[in-house]
Amino acid sequence: MSFENKEQAEGYWKENLKIMLKLLVVWFVVSYGCGILFIDQLNEITFMGFKLGFWFAQQGAMYVFIALIFIYVKQMNNLDKKYNVEE
């Protein structure tokens, strides 16, 4: 184990989970929320020639997915540095 003590190890894992869960909430909201559960309500709004719900389901959610992974990479790299566990 590369941590100095047990608290460090637990702290790292807790922060890791926090980053992950936050991003997963966004993931859930844009895909299942905007694209599926509230698609009919969002379809009342027009956005760049699209019904908004339809746009989320067929375009927007995918862009958000990509952004989420890159945000995750950045935050995890910072976290690794903070706890000095990067490779």
């Binding site: 020639g49 339809f54 995918m62 862009y63 990509i66 992974i69 790299n77 566990v85």
Partner: protein, 577 residues
């Protein structure tokens, strides 16, 4: 030059390139054969993973499916991209740190149990064969339509090429050919999409084009498509028809299934570091996203084009009302209709005897159009140059071959590594293991080819199986293995088996035993067999936690292993197992 000569040239060139790469990137050790030596740069791995993942189904069928189902097509678009978020955030970095070669490796070691390993091997092999049958069929269809050879001959040529680079090069050969195949397939997909987008909307970016107004002044494309679809009795294109719960579950099963597919997961074992595996997942989704965000645009373009070619154009009257096409003469039908009629994928039945074709969703309909032809016929429908048509054929082949190779590798490593080396014959040398791997790949190709030549009727039906099984067995086992230190082997094995049996039984009942009952009224809570994997996953989790509560503790060395995979540092050492 005619289309066929051009197709021979372009397909021939791409095949020569794949074989050239195979000779250059031969595998010398099991580590090179299984994980390309663990030295693939992350961006390149992203490309290879994208090609690995985007199959004949993505390239050939998906735009057609979305085109024919409209808004409900979202289940595939979201399901097959959203799964990568799960993969990237919850699995990839930890599995890379674990640092071995296969998914059954992880499940076997984490649950200190050969039973768990064997269950995982069986799932992996079953998923891969299900999938590969469709790929070989795709190769056959492209060959028979564009090169006018028998489907059998097409499949055999495809088998020979895959055999060459998968057996010779293993993961190393496959990785570099997949990078080349990604370039071919994305180019082949984007060129016609951009052409058509410019022609119909004047915008070269299809993603924006399909929200724009038509250049012929008939208003917004999607509004027009909604009007056409309603008039013809299909229901509005941008509105869903499936129940929300079912859409929810199908999307879930496809996402979770994607995250549990062994041929995708194993690609992330090939990058040097944990850090690389994270960013590599991001690149993968970028490369997939380029195609997946274009697909819905292409679907809408193709739908309008196809309907107006068959029924005749919509005429905008002075007072703003629209007069829809009432059919066009069959005798003057464009050549693509005649070409595809030969393959039986389009049929025309002149019900009212007026000599005109008419396509609709109600009793007036006279056409039967297979949705699988949409991408392949699209350049012809839009009257694009011959080289674009040839390019699409090469792209379809690249998509089918790259996925086949990735799947074959999982089949071969499952046999040589998980079954032989880890379970039955632990004393074999590296060289012997490599021979087993190559032999298993060879046998795998032959079986896949046979499935492609004599496709069982149920190929389409079993796709639900592949995802359902991955979602209800492998995914929960991997997730619990990483995020719970308390999950023991009894819990995990019970979870996998119960999840698997539940999902398989549901699908088998509705798809094979009693297909007549396969309708929303009879489904459990209105959830279709395609979506039941989501429930299967919940059943797996529930069973696993219940069983683990009343059975023994996890051994300390396994707890230490879980602690170690949660931290990136030291992935290099993990290599030397």
């Amino acid at each position: 030059m005619d289309v066929q000569t051009l197709t021979y040239i372009i397909v021939g060139l791409t095949f020569a390139m794949y074989i050239g790469i195979a000779i250059w990137a031969r595998a010398g050790s099991t580590k090179e054969f299984y994980v390309a030596g663990g030295g693939v740069p992350p961006v390149m791995n992203g490309m290879a993973t994208a090609a690995d993942w985007m199959s004949a189904a993505s390239f050939i069928s998906l735009a057609g499916i979305v085109s024919f189902t409209g808004s409900d097509g979202l289940v595939y678009l979201l399901g097959w991209t959203g799964g990568y978020v799960l993969l990237a955030l919850c699995m990839v970095p930890y599995l890379r740190k674990f640092g071995k070669f296969t998914v059954p490796d992880f499940i076997g070691d984490r649950y200190y149990s050969d039973t768990a390993r064997i269950v995982a091997v069986v799932c992996a092999i079953f998923i891969c064969f299900t999938y590969i049958a469709g790929q070989m069929r795709g190769v056959g269809v492209v060959f028979s339509r564009f090169l006018e050879v028998e489907i059998e001959t097409g499949v055999v040529i495809g088998m020979a090429v895959v055999f060459f680079y998968a057996v010779l090069g293993g993961m190393k050969g496959i990785t570099y050919t997949q990078v080349a195949q990604y370039c071919v397939l994305i180019f082949a997909f984007m060129v016609p999409a951009i052409f058509i987008s410019v022609m119909m909307t004047g915008n070269p970016i299809p993603q924006i084009g399909f929200g724009s107004e038509m250049v012929d002044g008939s208003g917004y494309l999607l509004a027009k498509l909604d009007g056409l679809s309603e008039e013809l009795g299909f229901g509005a294109y941008t509105e869903g028809r499936k129940s929300t719960l079912d859409v929810f579950c199908i999307t879930g099963a496809l996402m979770i299934g994607t995250a549990g597919l062994p041929h995708v997961i194993v690609r992330f074992f090939t990058v040097p570091k944990v850090k690389d595996s994270r960013i590599s997942a991001g690149w993968t989704l970028v490369f997939i996203g380029i195609m997946y965000t274009t697909i819905p645009a292409l679907s809408s373009f193709a739908r309008v084009n196809m309907i107006e070619t068959i029924n005749g154009p919509t005429v905008q009257m002075q007072d703003g009302s629209k007069v829809y096409g009432q059919g066009t003469s069959y005798a003057d039908a464009p050549s693509w209709i005649k070409n595809w009629e030969k393959t039986g994928l389009i049929t025309f039945d002149d019900k009212n005897g007026d000599g005109k074709m008419f396509y609709s969703g109600d009793e007036r309909n006279e056409m039967k159009i297979d949705r699988d032809i949409m991408v392949l016929a699209n350049p012809e429908i839009a009257d694009l140059p011959a080289w674009v048509i040839a390019l699409v054929a090469a792209g379809g082949l690249a998509a089918a071959l790259s996925t086949s190779a990735g799947l074959l590798l999982v089949i071969s490593t499952s046999v040589s590594h998980d079954l032989m080396k880890k379970t039955l014959r632990p004393d074999i040398s590296d060289k012997q293991e490599l021979m087993w791997a190559r032999g298993a790949a060879a046998v795998g190709i032959v079986l896949a080819g046979i499935l492609g030549i004599y496709p069982p009727d149920f190929v389409a039906a079993v796709v639900a199986f592949a995802f359902g099984l991955a979602a209800s067995s492998l995914f929960p086992a991997i997730i619990m293995g990483i995020f719970s230190k308390k999950m023991n082997k009894e819990g995990a094995v019970a979870g996998m088996i119960v999840g698997l049996v539940f999902t398989a039984a549901y699908i088998i009942y509705f798809k094979f035993v009693n297909p007549a009952a396969n309708s929303p009224d009879n489904w459990f809570l209105g959830i279709s067999p395609e979506g039941i994997g989501t429930i299967g996953m919940l059943v797996n989790f529930g069973t696993a936690f219940a069983v683990s509560k009343v059975t023994g503790d996890v051994p300390q060395d396994v707890v230490d292993m879980v602690d170690s995979i949660r931290v990136p540092k030291g992935a290099g050492e993990a290599h030397d197992h």
